[in-house]
């Protein structure tokens, strides 16, 4: 063991709280501090937009009328509907010995931990290698498997994004647990035909833990999976896990 991994199990929270907490942890982090792994979920479901994404792509009034939160992430990329998923956030030092010298190295290191977690569940996943600038302009994040995303036989299971400050970074990501995230397309400001097409692409291009495991995942199951995720990160990073609240 070469150091500590601070693990924060935050349970389910509102969208603005979740994103403010990730942002606050990032801004409080100093280069060389022990890395943090935060594991959390969303209640109510929440549609997050990328940091620079145009809100006009979505019918915001419909989102809130459905009882969902609508917030902006501190990270880039496109929209996600966080409904039935396990969400992780890593806050660490980069460049540095643990997460390497580059953005790419940090993704690789964290992907190693995610793949270890999935492998422990018997899921044979891999990492996608490329995304075009055009695909990045689609309003729906999970519609395309970009560089560094985790897939199972070509279908995206985990989507991640980074924010980088001076010497420190935040990477958070969604491990899809069920298919509810696909309802995102219902709120796209598009005509019905185009919306249906996006929905079909999202269905064909994504998978989730329930589908892979062949069983329903209840909240208690996700709690246990959170434990396994924390253990996989600690083992993959060769760090001693310490649970705490900040």
């Amino acid at each position: 063991m070469s150091g500590r991994l601070r693990i924060l199990r935050d349970g389910s929270g509102a969208g603005d709280w979740n994103m403010e907490r990730d942002t606050a942890l990032l801004h409080a982090h100093q280069p060389g501090d022990d890395p943090i792994l935060r594991i959390y979920q969303w209640n109510p479901p929440c549609l997050t937009l990328g940091y620079n994404q145009r809100e006009e792509a979505f019918a915001a009034a419909d989102v809130t009328a459905a009882g969902y939160d609508l917030v902006r992430r501190p990270t880039g990329g496109r929209a996600i509907l966080h409904a039935h998923e396990l969400t992780y956030a890593v806050i660490g030092t980069s460049p540095g010995p643990l997460f390497g010298s580059s953005l790419h190295d940090a993704y690789m290191t964290i992907n190693r931990a995610l793949l270890r977690f999935l492998s422990g569940l018997g899921i044979d996943a891999d990492v996608s290698s490329g995304e075009s600038r055009e695909a990045a302009r689609s309003p729906v994040c999970f519609r395309s498997a970009g560089r560094h995303e985790i897939r199972v036989r070509g279908r995206k299971l985990v989507g991640s994004a980074q924010r980088r400050l001076r010497g420190v970074f935040l990477q958070h990501g969604s491990i899809l647990a069920g298919p509810e995230h696909r309802r995102l397309v219902d709120y796209l400001d598009l005509d019905p035909t185009a919306r249906a097409q996006q929905g079909e692409e999202l269905q064909a291009g994504t998978t989730d833990l329930q589908e892979q495991l062949g069983r329903t995942l209840e909240p208690a199951d996700l709690e246990r999976l959170g434990d396994e995720l924390a253990q996989a990160f600690a083992a993959a990073l060769d760090l001693e896990p310490t649970s705490e609240t900040i």
């Binding site: 940091y51 990270t75 880039g76 995304e131 560089r147 001076r166």
Partner: protein, 129 residues
């Protein structure tokens, strides 16, 4: 090869200072290294013209397909111009980060701060060259 006509920061930004109407105006951009590290840039968020900042203040962001990176002001001053072309075509940050992909210009408030930055040789060393 790191061009020696400008100064650099540890955040992988550059500032090239020119005299305009008796004032020192610094053109700011990101380095080749930063552009390569980020990958395909899809959005730049730049400060407003007329706003004033201190050295190292966060003033905007660059978003690539996989990360949002904050921009920090290399030296204190007032923003006097932004590069509309790079807002319209963020890919200029990748294709020509040191020239056409410049981001904004500042009127230097404290020209002495330039001495706190890295020259080409020091920045080259930071990159491991």
């Amino acid at each position: 090869m790191v061009p020696d006509d400008r100064m650099y920061t540890e955040d992988h930004e550059w500032v090239r200072v020119e005299e305009e109407d008796g004032e020192q105006i610094g053109m700011v951009g990101v380095t080749d290294f930063a552009a390569g590290e980020l990958g395909d840039v899809v959005f730049v968020e730049l400060p407003e013209i007329g706003s004033e900042y201190s050295q190292k203040d966060p003033v905007g962001t660059i978003e690539s397909v996989k990360a949002v990176a904050d921009l920090f002001l290399p030296v204190s001053g007032e923003v006097v111009a932004i590069n509309d072309a790079v807002v319209e075509s963020p890919e200029l940050v990748n294709s020509d980060p040191l020239d056409e992909g410049w981001l904004f210009k500042i009127r230097l408030a404290e020209p002495g701060e330039l001495e706190t930055l890295l020259d080409a040789a020091a920045y080259g060393k930071l990159l491991g060259g």
